[in-house]
Symmetry: C2
Subunit: 311 residues, 2 copies
């Protein structure tokens, strides 16, 4: 797989350069907070200790997580795509918001063990739901902080189910299938023994990827060749939660809770699951848009060393 | 070429939603302003009415445009790339800043006829210089406004010369060569007769591309199949300046001088030159990073109609 990024030490900065003033996160009228459930569309899945429910006429209370349709969906339930038209197709699929916790002032970096563990299970369940309904690709991602694209401050994750596999993923799949062995298997094996390792947790490694597009980018990779969240057993799912929280905690501590995106890269089959965390502390500007190559002022070895040093 | 973007009318907003407070653009100690030439590295090309010069011990004054090395270069003059290492190579090339005008409070949207015309000629000359020195790809782009990645407010363009053709461009070239006819020739021919046409100027068309990644994205395309700026004759270069100014003026008037990037897509041969203008008014967030697909709340037909209506 031929991809490049520019590691520009000449542009290097210290972690403090990426620290921004913390955003105001409290809102009295937060639609994601308990008690304000009527402010959102009806939930498609409400998680409580006594089971999973869908909202009826009134909204269900007492939840620990809640999935609602996005009010400004990028994908909608639509009739079958028309054939014969090569350029336009309906944006068929789903667009959900997963509110992982009723706590307004919390985030995966600070979740307790039970909340983070439940969160990754909800991810797996909603992934299963949309794949079983026939989606070709399900994108699960978190935008944290306004600079990273979050329009509401209450912690939430988004899920967009697509009627096709994005070309970017098709290219990766095709590159993988043309290679003698899975490149991610090689990466996790090699990087776990390199200076770019940040930590391991059970069957997971957290690394600063050699091909780091942003400062302090982190990848979570399973050592096992696993295509998606549904192939994880209970113990690996549990460890994923712990590893994700650990990675986000280090990032938050080092850069004072920076804006970031994380994305779950997974496929129905033939892939190697990986989760990428990218702090939104550099701009995607003209050069990146022209070439697809990112300029990153912090070498991954330096990022890994600083992230390792966070206790 | 299989690429997708999501046109999400459900997320549609009015032009006023993308309008931001105008940035403070005046700086007493602007290193790009006349009189402050000593604040920059020595210029590699100083354009005056009496010729083109390079700075010596002291800096040359009285210029109408000036090219200086970027102080934080993403690419540098480096020795030959080592062989045998498949993952790391020196960032060999050049990184220049082109100051297109001594006027602090100006931009290509407001340049007079002579300044815009000179600007595109300087682009062509610096492109020629780096291609002749053996660069494989030369990226010329403008970041306007802090949100678009500009760190200094005095109008300037950047040029990054690369030792390789970016994979993104390689994919395009390979897709083009596999097609019976140039897709850009088809696009400019078809779109100039569509509701996505914004205007034409001589041999140029300005369109809102069907595949618009951002609100109010504009493409400038020559009707002729031309690979790069060096293949343009005097009259087409002149018209390109007028067309670029016209496009930026419309954007600036409609969205009150928004941040934007423009990028010149060109290759040594086998390509169809095009210039893409993307307002930086939406975020590239988790979904885009996961899938490579952009969500755009403004359909290109609406964008074209509004941009056409600017006098």
């Amino acid at each position: 797989m031929e991809e490049y990024c520019v590691i520009a030490k000449e542009r290097a900065r210290r972690p403090t350069d990426f620290i921004r003033a913390r955003e105001q996160r409290v809102s009295k009228e937060c639609p994601f907070c308990p008690g304000n459930e009527e402010m959102t569309p009806r939930a498609v899945a409400v998680y409580r200790d006594d089971g999973v429910f869908a909202d009826g006429e009134t909204r269900i209370r007492g939840w620990w997580a809640r999935c609602i349709p996005n009010m400004y969906p990028a994908m909608v339930q639509a009739p079958d795509a028309p054939t014969g038209e090569w350029v336009a197709m309906p944006a068929r699929g789903g667009h959900e918001v997963i509110i992982e916790s009723p706590e307004h002032e919390s985030s995966p970096a600070t979740f307790d063990q039970e909340t983070i563990s439940r969160m990754v299970k909800v991810y797996a369940e909603r992934y299963r739901y949309h794949m079983q309904r026939g989606s070709a690709y399900v994108s699960i991602f978190k935008n944290w902080g306004r600079e990273a694209g979050a329009s509401l401050s209450h912690t939430h994750t988004q899920l967009i189910a697509l009627p096709l596999v994005p070309p970017q993923m098709m290219r990766e799949l095709s590159a993988i299938s043309s290679m003698p062995a899975c490149p991610y298997c090689n990466i996790v094996e090699r990087e776990a023994r390199s200076e770019r390792l940040i930590f391991t947790k059970g069957d997971w490694a957290c690394i600063a990827p050699f091909y780091s597009q942003t400062p302090y980018e982190m990848w979570l990779l399973p050592f096992k060749h696993i295509s998606n969240l549904l192939e994880l057993d209970e113990s690996m799912l549990e460890d994923l939660g712990i590893a994700l929280k650990g990675a986000l905690h280090r990032l938050s501590a080092l850069l004072n809770d920076p804006p970031y995106n994380y994305m779950i890269f997974q496929m129905r089959s033939g892939y190697h699951l990986n989760i990428r965390i990218q702090p939104a502390v550099t701009k995607i500007a003209g050069f990146e848009k022209n070439t697809g190559i990112h300029i990153n002022p912090v070498p991954p070895e330096q990022a890994a060393s600083e992230l390792r040093s966070v206790s």
